[in-house]
Symmetry: D2
Subunit: 307 residues, 4 copies
């Protein structure tokens, strides 16, 4: 039976994203204190899935997620979700703006609400918390520590809090993308608007390596949607690449590109093929559909005398 | 007269890195609470330089630095420094390990010392702080809040603290790279072991863009040492590239590559040419030295009848 | 004063092509028995120019011309011309088709008129001649050797012959392209629809050489119109490349591509920039006009602090 | 039963090449007057094979062979042979150098012996013939027409002639390469030192086509040994490419490259995989052996969940 871990505590953006996915319907959802613990719960079989953040428009990639998926015990991505990041100022019922002298939140969140804090609460002290939802939870657990928290709006419902102000972030366009992760096994079928995630380790630090990698994709008409060099943690200057490309491993062009990478790289880790959250279908250049591959294979078999 | 801002408070890794650089000699060094504030101090002329972290082996790129340099008011990098990340457990003189029940530090630092904390202080509570050096400062400012802080060793000297345990991080190889930033103006001269940093904005979301960019470098024999796609903050899926390449803009091959990028990209921002912290010289393939460029130019001038 | 050698004898397609060019107007035109002798006449100063065939739709490249220009004493192409290849059956006045038992012509020409010969003169014997125009001349010089010659129509006027049948070639679309050659010196100015010819010698037989060469062109948006590998005559399997590209060496993109080739190749020989015979202007991709190059150079100079 | 056509008449370099091949052993060999007629004999079933010249170090490609194979009724190459081009001066027994006033030969041969003729027979008249062996045959058939012929040495044995002078060509390194052609059917097996010949027709005249083609080869580590653009005979400026690459279509890397070309090109014609005449094995870069392809396929099948 399905059960899903998510980056907690209750009331996080992860929970908000999860509740917007069909997978959450009638499923047990359990908060975990860190990305690593949520993923380990999948690895141990304690849960069947975990939803963790992977990319944020303001902070960039979530490196703990990239590194856990890229180099930890094997897991695969089976779905993704992206939601806007909207911060709210939450307080215990009865608290007014005039009462707020101390505001708790995660340092990233206070950085993203700096403009609003300066104009609306110029005299408030900001108290760092381990997470935004944790700051909201603290309003209930330690009522004397601070008067308000910056947190996702969902946390108000979860903890019985009041929304003093909504959408107080400086950047309307902020978003976070989450991935739903499971043990390797059956893949979601192709939908025509898919994405495939890979971790690529180079054979050695040779200058043309990245160009080689990109050529393996481009020669089969596969577009990249994200690429990042990440230090391997082994030595300063030793990198691996984390890559998202358009298409599903079941697509002929993606499969051939992956096999090509397998020959060129020291190691390729397949991290899943899954439906894009935005449903955007790839614009394919001529000659790279499954039909084109099938007809080329049939021609080749004829040339080789296999028929 | 030279004066250098750094990411504070006093006792940070940034200060430790700065003290290891010749620039610090006899120079006024001022801590600032954030990367943005340190950089703004350069922009306003309050200081001549700022030293800020740009990349960390564990957390990856420091996105606030990348985004400030990539899209904020123009600044250039004039030097870089990398130092190992070594965490120490600091306390007020007289405190022993047995006294420690609460440990304050930045969430990233506690994550990187999780193994040591589990084995050496299994019962201690970890209290989140805005920065590691700030946690050390707190030992002096609020003596009753907690007994110890995880911080750079330098913070012991700065705040008159005692080192209860040193090198307590789980990863011996962790490092952080810092860049010294100034207003655009005279560039440091080429040393033969230089690096150039760029921000590249694409003309549109066209699939082959990254391959095009890499080809502009590779055709002139210029190797990349770092590449990263970063969201532009405008819309989900709209990216720019942050790139480090080997060589100095005064090198003919680098200059021609940059001019090529200027023609291919919507916008190129030059973020400086500076000596590599590791002094590593590029391995050049035949045909790409300044002499090769000069002799090709002379030949071309002859062919064009300019002589 | 201008004087032009051409591949003779009188009445050849070369003469026909030359008479269609403005250069021929009021100029002394002298036939030479071979491409090499015509080109040597330019080298020695006996004439100022020579018109020689370089490519034929049926026979392909004229290798003696390619090799003379590619590896002989330096000459440059200053113009080109292409004309349709139309064969006529010529005879002395008074000869009728019924009289024709022997037809002289060059073996290539008889091969191209095989269909017509089979249907119209099934019983005639074909006598090989050194050139088509020479066969026509022979009708006058040795009246008993044969009754008719297959030759360019122009030869009828030149030698006072009668046209028994016109356009007797099997292929209506056949054409020959000629180049006008001079000593290196002042180049024709760019017209906006130019072509540049090069000979490229590789550094060694390394597999990626051709890809490297093409990339030097493509990265600057310069299209090739012809490429051919030619044996160097040194050893079986040792090749050079003969290349035509769009544009004039005075164009910034072509100049930079040539300088790039100069760095990559063992040797580059420039064989001229000249107006295309068909006046076809290149379709340029964004970023490769002279204005784009000038603005990139100005930007680079600013970055380098040269202004 | 095997029977081989060759470019005649008897005594040609084609016959000399054929006699040096194991295929000739105990086989009926028949001279044909032209490449087209020799190839048509294979097409009609009159013979099982034909040996025709395809490339000559002095004259370049034999365009009639390229065009017949590239665009005529389908045939495939099953073997190749290369021999040095050595010209001899042949005469009827009893003739001395002093008797020689007229020398018959093909115009290409007289061009290649120009130096020797100038120094050794400065007063002799050169009479054009349709072929060198034909000139030798003429010494017997029409004893009064001329005294000597420049021809392959083999023609002396064939026609009972005397060798007045041997190796009289100006270029010691001249060679001709021949191909043995058959109807499409069973392919020769791979030997580890093979070559594959293709004709590639482009989808349209688009600038990057050649770069695309080369990338299909290079991304699979397949090296080209010859490439040529050939006019299609349809229109001035409309080309196809004739290509030789290293390896056998049964090799995984060559097969995948051919399938890739099939998707990119308007049309690909496979002209055979056969042992190289020089037995030279390819230097392969890492990742492109059959084992590498097999292990990548197995990995991909695992990723796709096919096992």
């Amino acid at each position: 039976m399905r059960s899903i871990a998510y980056l907690g505590p209750r009331g996080t953006f992860a929970e908000a994203a999860l509740r917007a996915m069909p997978h959450a319907e009638g499923t047990e959802l359990s908060p975990f204190p860190s990305v690593t613990e949520a993923l380990d719960a999948v690895r141990s079989g304690a849960v069947t899935h975990a939803l963790v953040p992977i990319e944020n428009s303001v902070e960039g990639s979530v490196t703990s997620t990239l590194d856990e998926l890229g180099t930890g015990e094997p897991l695969v991505i089976v779905d993704e979700q992206a939601i806007p990041v909207r911060f709210a100022l939450l307080a215990r019922p009865g608290t007014t703006m005039a009462d707020v002298r101390r505001v708790a939140t995660h340092p990233h969140a206070s950085a993203q609400c700096r403009g609003w804090l300066r104009s609306s609460l110029p005299d408030a002290t900001v108290i760092p918390a381990g997470s935004t939802a944790g700051a909201a939870a603290g309003l209930v657990e330690s009522p004397t520590a601070y008067e308000a928290a910056i947190a996702p709006r969902l946390a108000a419902d979860v903890y019985g809090l009041h929304v003093l102000a909504d959408e107080i972030g400086d950047n309307d366009e902020a978003w976070t993308r989450f991935v739903l992760v499971a043990l390797p096994g059956e893949l979601p079928g192709p939908t025509g608007a898919d994405k495939t995630t890979l971790t690529l380790f180079m054979r050695e630090d040779h200058p043309g390596a990245l160009l080689e990698i990109l050529t393996e994709f481009s020669v089969r008409g596969v577009n990249l949607t994200r690429i990042e060099s990440r230090p391997t943690r082994r030595a300063l200057g030793d990198y691996y690449f984390s890559v998202d490309c358009e298409g599903h491993v079941a697509d002929a062009r993606v499969g051939e590109a992956l096999a090509g990478l397998h020959r060129v790289c020291a190691h390729v880790r397949f991290l899943g093929s899954y439906a894009r959250h935005d449903g955007k279908e790839p614009r394919l250049r001529p000659g790279v559909t499954d039909d084109d591959f099938a007809s080329a294979s049939a021609w080749l078999a004829g040339v080789r005398g296999a028929d």
